[in-house]
């Protein structure tokens, strides 16, 4: 248990070291990995796995996955990035993902938060509201 706590704290610290101006960058991650390789931690594999999990979580928090059935304009994507960066207080990058089940509209997921403005979502909410 104590070992896990230490590894967790180390992984969180490594994630913080992987940020450049609050954004996880590939270069910083490479540096961190190189450093880990040099240090050769006793629980090297566990540290790497934990670091990967926290890194994925951090990337997810910094990424707005915009699901849409059709391609979005750059203007709309930039507006989404600006809005959620301001909302969460950190740089958020928009990534589009095609999803034809939405029919039309967009669905944005930032971490565990989902913002739905799709036709399918609206129809689903309409159906749920009918009782």
């Amino acid at each position: 248990m104590k070992r896990d706590q230490k590894i967790t704290r180390l992984a969180k610290k490594l994630v913080e070291l992987s940020k450049d101006n609050g954004v996880v960058t590939e270069a910083k991650v490479g540096e961190v990995l190189a450093g880990l390789k040099q240090v050769q931690h006793r629980h090297h594999l566990t540290v790497l796995k934990t670091f990967l999990n926290y890194l994925r979580r951090e990337i997810a928090l910094q990424t707005a996955v915009v699901s849409t059935p059709a391609a979005l304009s750059d203007e709309a994507l930039k507006a989404i990035e600006a809005t959620y960066s301001k909302m969460y207080g950190r740089p958020v990058t928009a990534v589009t993902k095609q999803d034809t089940s939405l029919i039309a509209g967009v669905r944005v997921r930032v971490g565990d938060d989902v913002y739905d403005a799709s036709v399918a979502g609206r129809l689903q909410r309409l159906a749920e509201n009918v009782k």
């Binding site: 809005t83 039309a104 129809l123 159906a127």
Partner: protein
């Protein structure tokens, strides 16, 4: 009663005295015919004429007293006692009969009173029973009405709930069908440009909502 018998004895003794006097008179007449010329006294003549002599008279009086005493002692007194006793019995019987009559009348009156009271009580009980039965019938009727009303209300509520549930199910099913149909229709009928336009507007809507 005793006086009556004494009077009766005297009345009986009078003929006996007369008979005795007659016998004495015969003796006196026989003797008088011989002695009349010798005595001039009128009284003597009368007594002689009627044959009354002192010894005979005394003896007859003694006899009479003895007979009267014996009769009184052994005949009149028991008979009088018997008659008195019988008369007492009769009087007692009459008194008893009178008492019985009185008691009978009293009993009859009490019986009539009791019958009357019983009739009144019976009427009262009957009236109370009728009132109680009437109240009970009314109470049971009210209870039955309340129960029927409660059953009807429960049934109505159950029916209403069932109806609401059915309506909800129907609405949900209709909504599901509408959504499914709309999804299919929109997926088929919306062009790519329309989808893109809608997606852009939705993205801007999200962006403006976030701000």
């Amino acid at each position: 009663m005793k006086a009556t018998f004494i009077t009766l004895l005297l009345a009986l003794s009078l003929p006996l005295g007369l008979v005795a006097a007659g016998a004495t008179h015969d003796a006196v007449v026989a003797h008088g015919e011989e002695a009349a010329p010798a005595e001039g006294n009128k009284l003597t003549m009368i007594t002689d004429k009627f044959g009354v002599t002192v010894p005979t008279l005394v003896a007859q009086m003694v006899n009479f007293c003895l007979v009267a005493f014996v009769l009184y002692k052994f005949a009149v007194k028991p008979i009088a006692a018997t008659l008195d006793e019988r008369q007492q019995k009769i009087a007692d019987g009459l008194q008893y009969a009178e008492e019985m009559k009185t008691q009978l009348a009293e009993a009859e009156r009490e019986r009539a009173e009791k019958i009357k009271q019983a009739a009144i009580d019976a009427q009262k009980i009957l009236t109370e029973s009728r009132e109680q039965s009437k109240e009970m019938i009314e109470q049971k009727t009210q209870e039955a009405a309340a129960q029927a009303e409660a059953i009807i209300r429960k049934a109505s509520e159950a029916t209403e709930l069932e109806r609401q549930k059915m309506l909800s199910d129907v609405r949900q099913e209709v909504a599901r069908l509408v959504v499914a149909t709309s999804s299919k229709v929109l997926s088929r009928d919306l062009s790519d440009s329309e989808k893109q336009t809608f997606s852009d507007s939705a993205a801007k809507e999200l962006a403006s909502a976030g701000n």
